[in-house]
Symmetry: C2
Subunit: 232 residues, 2 copies
Amino acid sequence: MSAPLHERIRAGIEAEILSGTLAPGARLPVEHELMRLHSCSRMTVSKALSALASAGLIERRKRAGSFVARPKVHAMVLDVPDLGAEVIGRGQAYAYRLLGRRMRAPRDEEEKLLAGKGRLLQLDGLHLADGMPLALEHRLVALAAAPEMAEADFSAEAPGSWLLHHVPWTEAETRISAVNADDASADLLGLDPGAALLSVERRTWRGGERITSVRQLFVGSAYDLVARFGPS
Amino acid sequence: MSAPLHERIRAGIEAEILSGTLAPGARLPVEHELMRLHSCSRMTVSKALSALASAGLIERRKRAGSFVARPKVHAMVLDVPDLGAEVIGRGQAYAYRLLGRRMRAPRDEEEKLLAGKGRLLQLDGLHLADGMPLALEHRLVALAAAPEMAEADFSAEAPGSWLLHHVPWTEAETRISAVNADDASADLLGLDPGAALLSVERRTWRGGERITSVRQLFVGSAYDLVARFGPS
DNA sequence: CGATCGATTATGTCTATACATTATAGGCGG
DNA sequence: CCGCCTATAATGTATAGACATAATCGATCG
């Protein structure tokens, strides 16, 4: 019942926008009007409007007033799951099987950029759900950014999960595409060659420094990425 | 040079967090300390801290102080592009070719849910970039939510773009997966049967009312979805 | 010794006011 | 009629203070 006043004002205007009562492009009451409506000070309505503005719902223009933003390119929220947690959350047994582990020097420009001054740790593995192959993972880690990783044991915890808990990223970029399985991948995943795979490539940074680069190949029929937008 | 004071304070603390100077869990100076440091009022530092808190970078606890949040970043931002704008942005020519258009009654439970009290408009089409097939689109629109759409002309503007500008959504859910092309789809996209396709299924709402449901099949090798997280 | 309870300290909200900034509208001159 | 220019109306930033709220620490009492 007793949410803060600025929050109630914000929610009220948000509801009017989402319901369409306030159409895109519509001008909403000026701050002094809202002050009068809610019998409060200007700082309070300003706080409500600032929140709406930073959420992209309205646009504020000096001298002109505040307007409902025209919905441009919408953005959605894509969950970046810890794969293990995700599988267990679906009630399946999760396992990670390490297939290969090498420490080596960077081989090309892209890898040099990742490695920085140090060497690279290459980790190949298989994610399993209820014993069935779910995804094939090829990962490169910059040892300069995560030196402790050279000694880590990945029989219990997958590298992705280990990294998330020890060297969390602050920036990341994900590319999602579809590819046909080559013979080796198909064999490891227990599929026919040519089967459709969902490819998720992710590069992560921590304050400008590259941490890791990973490519996960999901069995197309066994995994969906889900993104959402809206009042959760 | 002269960014607002609260913004400079916010940026300063953000930088310390991202660089690791302030480690996760660390307590940061109390508001009165920051007031003294920057010779400003409490409202100003409070504004800076509020921004950091709403961005999830810090956690504020009464009586205890403010702490750098332990990073449990699970979400990234996925742009939902207007496909035409996206293609043109890459410097290619964009076209949409309507393949089929029918008005009909809902056929199953899922479609009934979408249609509401009205009928459905089914639109099948092909997105082209520089004359090459980019994606096959199968769309169902609830005419109850967008009656004007029955008369719209889709030779100039794709249905997705039309909808975005006329009946913008407020909630959406996207499922992304990979599938092998069936014979008909492969033929329309100019691919061999079995080629990997990126399947993007999206359902949208406007304040509780279903608007449209679309499945886009992208040529796997020609299109990447990109998601980002981090200080833009 | 342990549980409870109050004092203290931090954040949370709000007011009233002041001045800065900026885009617009409308007037004024050419 | 057009272009400049200024007054004005809106938001943006900041101050100082008041009271609310919540959690923690420590002291007191059973």
